[in-house]
């Protein structure tokens, strides 16, 4: 079963978009996590937080001036939703680290069965910097990892992370194009599976120990 990168991303973003409740405060990482915003059901009103200093982030603002005064954490101009608030980065991380963010969605290089996350550096490669990721992962009430299941066939969901961590034991949920995993006290629970893949496909492409329930749910999308 071959899915294009775009198809993988859409499956992942669509699934994560179903995780939120009315009024949730959500911070999305850059890249794939940002796409989650496109699939939030219209009857659910969530509040997007941007780590530079804003609540109530709207859409990309295509009419913005060259050097806009309202941008997201990627530096791109955005619109404000009704109820939006501007503040400084100190307040932004009071919100983030203080547990006032209901969920964050971030990408990953590796996640392990203990909930450890590695998403900021590969030894020997260029390291751009952790930005706000370490604070987000520690502070958000729920940490959702959005990533393709493997790195060109190499498992990313492992027993123990082998590259430097972003945070210890903070991941709550992993969503890939193949399945949804939830971290429980007993370990990683396989919650949902994309029917395009067999259980065997999942197990072969995963290095972590998984808890397989009697009845597997179909990946929601």
């Amino acid at each position: 079963m071959e899915l294009s990168k775009e198809q993988c991303r859409e499956i992942i973003a669509r699934r994560i978009a179903k995780e939120f409740s009315e009024g949730d405060v959500i911070t999305l990482g850059i890249g794939l996590p940002t796409e989650v915003a496109n699939y939030i059901p219209h009857d659910i009103h969530v509040i997007f937080q941007s780590e530079n200093g804003m609540l109530g982030v709207g859409h990309r603002d295509l009419a913005a001036p060259e050097n806009p005064k309202v941008t997201n954490a990627g530096g791109l101009p955005v619109t404000t939703k009704p109820g939006a608030v501007f503040f400084d980065t100190a307040m932004s991380f009071t919100i983030i680290r203080g547990g006032h963010v209901d969920a964050t969605v971030l990408g990953a290089l590796q996640v392990d069965q203990h909930g450890n996350l590695a998403n900021w550096m590969i030894p020997g490669a260029f390291v751009p910097g952790m930005g706000g990721a370490m604070d987000l992962v520690v502070g958000a009430k729920k940490v959702i990892i959005a990533m393709e299941h493997t790195n060109k066939g190499k498992p990313r969901i492992v027993k123990n992370c082998t590259i430097p961590l972003t945070a210890e034991a903070e991941v709550d949920m992993i969503v890939t194009e193949r399945c949804v995993l939830e971290r429980t006290e007993q370990g990683l629970l396989l919650k949902e599976i994309n029917p395009m893949f067999s259980l065997d496909d999942i197990l072969r492409s995963t290095d972590a120990d998984l808890i397989i329930p009697q009845e597997l749910q179909q990946l929601a999308g």
């Binding site: 941007s50 780590e51 530079n52 200093g53 804003m54 050097n67 806009p68 005064k69 309202v70 941008t71 954490a73 990627g74 530096g75 501007f86 503040f87 400084d88 980065t89 100190a90 932004s92 991380f93 983030i96 680290r97 550096m121 260029f126 390291v127 751009p128 910097g129 952790m130 930005g131 706000g132 990721a133 370490m134 604070d135 520690v138 502070g139 430097p164 961590l165 972003t166 945070a167 210890e168």
Partner: protein, 216 residues
């Protein structure tokens, strides 16, 4: 009343090898006029404290491109390939700090505190060389305050008392940096002849030493 100075005078204040905090988050809320003067004066050996090294061709990113920065204390260098190139070549030192920790270290420096305990970075490379302190059953890193010789601060609008209003997401690091440097230079887009409304001031003027005059 604060000292109103020309951008050229402001540029001359910055001394070689000084530590300089510069506000801004990528291009948003980033002062740039004083930076052009620093480049003109070739004032080098600087320690840059900022959220990021911006882009090669913009604001503080140009300080890197002009090789005037000896060390950068930032959260991210990914948008300025020249920072990465100089890092690889051993021409610049880069200290990467988690964003919430960086902004809090600067606030701490400005607020006369000796440090703070944060859970961020626990169990990661950020922990290296730091004291781990247990408080209420949870482990935290002790992070230290950060101050600088100079801070260059953006404002959307300022009055002659140095009081500043920063619109939209331009506040970012500007607010805390204004409290944490020995000499604070405000670079407003607009200077108001009348005082700003006391309830709508983002940065109190008492933190500001110099206001850079508007361009003619």
């Amino acid at each position: 009343m604060k000292k109103l100075i020309s951008v050229s005078e402001a540029g001359k204040l910055i001394t070689p090898n000084a530590s300089v905090m510069i506000g801004g988050f990528l291009r948003c809320g980033s002062p740039y006029r004083v930076i052009e003067e620093i480049i003109k004066n070739k004032t080098g050996g600087l320690t840059l404290i900022a959220n990021d090294t911006s882009f090669e061709e913009y604001d503080r990113g140009k300080l890197i491109a002009n090789k005037l920065v000896k060390k950068a204390i930032v959260t991210h260098i990914g948008t300025n390939p020249e920072t990465g190139r100089q890092l690889n070549a051993g021409e610049i030192e880069v200290e990467l700090v988690p964003m919430g920790t960086l902004v809090e270290r600067i606030r701490c420096g400005g607020a006369g505190l000796g440090g703070f305990l944060t859970p961020t970075g626990k169990g990661t490379l950020v922990e290296e060389g730091k004291q781990v302190i247990e408080s209420n059953g949870r482990k935290y890193l002790l992070e230290k305050p950060l101050r600088a010789d100079f801070a260059i601060i953006y404002a959307t609008k300022a009055d002659k008392f140095g009081n500043a209003f920063l619109d939209g997401t331009t506040r970012n690091f500007n607010t805390v940096m204004a409290t944490a440097a020995d000499t604070v230079i405000l670079e407003p887009e607009e200077i108001s002849d009348t005082p700003l409304d006391p309830a709508q001031i983002t940065i109190p003027g008492i933190f500001v030493d110099y206001i850079v005059m508007q361009e003619k």
